[in-house]
């Protein structure tokens, strides 16, 4: 959501998404940075109840003159995460220190998380350390700036970003944090978006960023577990419980072996399904 657009801000809690990103960076012109910062701060301050989705604010990069003022204005118990553009390990360390100081000064109860954006070749080379940095609970791939840094054309097929996609998905999976795929920029091509989501999901991404509200249902349809998967996972869960009582760690279900990795896959499906209340809906 562009941070300087009151009409968009006031309707931002109606979408069926996991998080809303209020943007102070690229969606705000240089001459309006102060106005956007103050508007987002006042909007958050006026928020009476916590919306169902996570609240994220994308600040300006740590190589700009704006980021400290951004943090001072928006960091409060109302937000969940700060999104850091052009993330690098040295900036994440600096951001952690600044956030700690603000949290202490404001007497905050919450420990604000950080979502770094991988949008520089240098960031791609540091992913292994970025995922381990303090406060990081997810990473977003920013393919537009990354392609620009590489001086390559951005394509719908996305061959030019295959390496960072795979590297990011693996690093996030290793540290059990969210991997958020780059937005699909053609807002009129939902078929292309669905294909792009499926490709990212198959690489191991846990979610995808949207740049238009119309994209949210398409993204959700790919990244939430299907009814068939949920049914299978519930059966694995039940069979695991019954077989554990018999002392069996490995067993057969529908003629297929169920061992620890299969149980873990089923568990992850059910965690996601329960997060979105999909199991309760199925039972009704």
């Amino acid at each position: 959501m562009p941070g300087n657009n009151p009409a968009m801000l006031q309707n931002s809690d109606v979408f069926d998404c996991d998080a809303v990103i209020y943007d102070l960076e690229d969606a705000v012109s240089v001459t309006e940075k102060d106005a956007a910062r103050t508007l987002v701060a006042q909007f958050l301050s006026a928020m009476k109840k916590q919306p169902p989705m996570e609240i994220v604010v994308r600040i300006n990069g740590l190589d700009t003159e704006y980021w400290e003022k951004d943090l001072e204005a928006v960091v409060s118990d109302k937000i969940d995460s700060i999104m850091l553009p052009k993330a690098q390990v040295r900036y994440l360390k600096q951001l952690d220190e600044a956030l700690s100081e603000i949290e202490r000064k404001k007497g905050m109860k919450k420990h604000v998380a950080v979502l770094p954006i991988i949008e520089l070749a240098a960031s791609v080379m540091e992913i292994d350390d970025i995922v381990k940095a303090p406060r990081v609970n997810g990473v977003l791939l920013g393919a537009e700036d990354l392609s620009s840094d590489l001086e390559v054309a951005r394509t719908k097929k996305g061959n030019e970003i295959l390496y960072p996609r795979m590297k990011l998905a693996y690093a996030c999976a290793a540290y059990k944090i969210d991997s958020i795929d780059t937005p699909f920029t053609d807002t009129n091509d939902n078929e292309g978006l669905a294909d792009d989501c499926a490709f990212a999901a198959n690489l191991g991404f846990t979610s995808k960023a949207a740049i238009h509200p119309n994209q949210v249902p398409v993204i959700n349809s790919v990244f939430v577990p299907t009814a068939k998967n949920i049914e299978w996972a519930l059966r694995v869960e039940e069979a695991t419980r019954i077989n554990a009582e018999k002392g069996l760690g490995v067993f057969s279900l529908d003629g297929k072996m169920v061992d620890k990795p299969v149980m873990e896959r089923a568990r992850k499906i059910l965690v996601k399904a329960r997060k979105y209340n999909l199991i309760q809906e199925d039972k009704q």
Partner: protein, 83 residues
Amino acid sequence: MKRGIAGSMESNDALITVKESDKLSVTVKSIVYDFFHEQIEKVIYDTLAERGIGNVEVICEDKGALDYTIKARLLTALDRMEG
């Protein structure tokens, strides 16, 4: 004379102009004036009081902005006036 402007004439926004003055004056023009001008004026007076500003000329051209938007635009206009 120092002055600051913030906001826009877009729907749900407000364009607020503040000017240095030796007295306090607030002018509100709004598409919902009949229903909300008292509320808008209250936001403006409260915000000026929070900032400890007594003498300033405020012109608010409102396009249906919510209270927090009016407050934000006024704060930005004041910051811009003060440089």
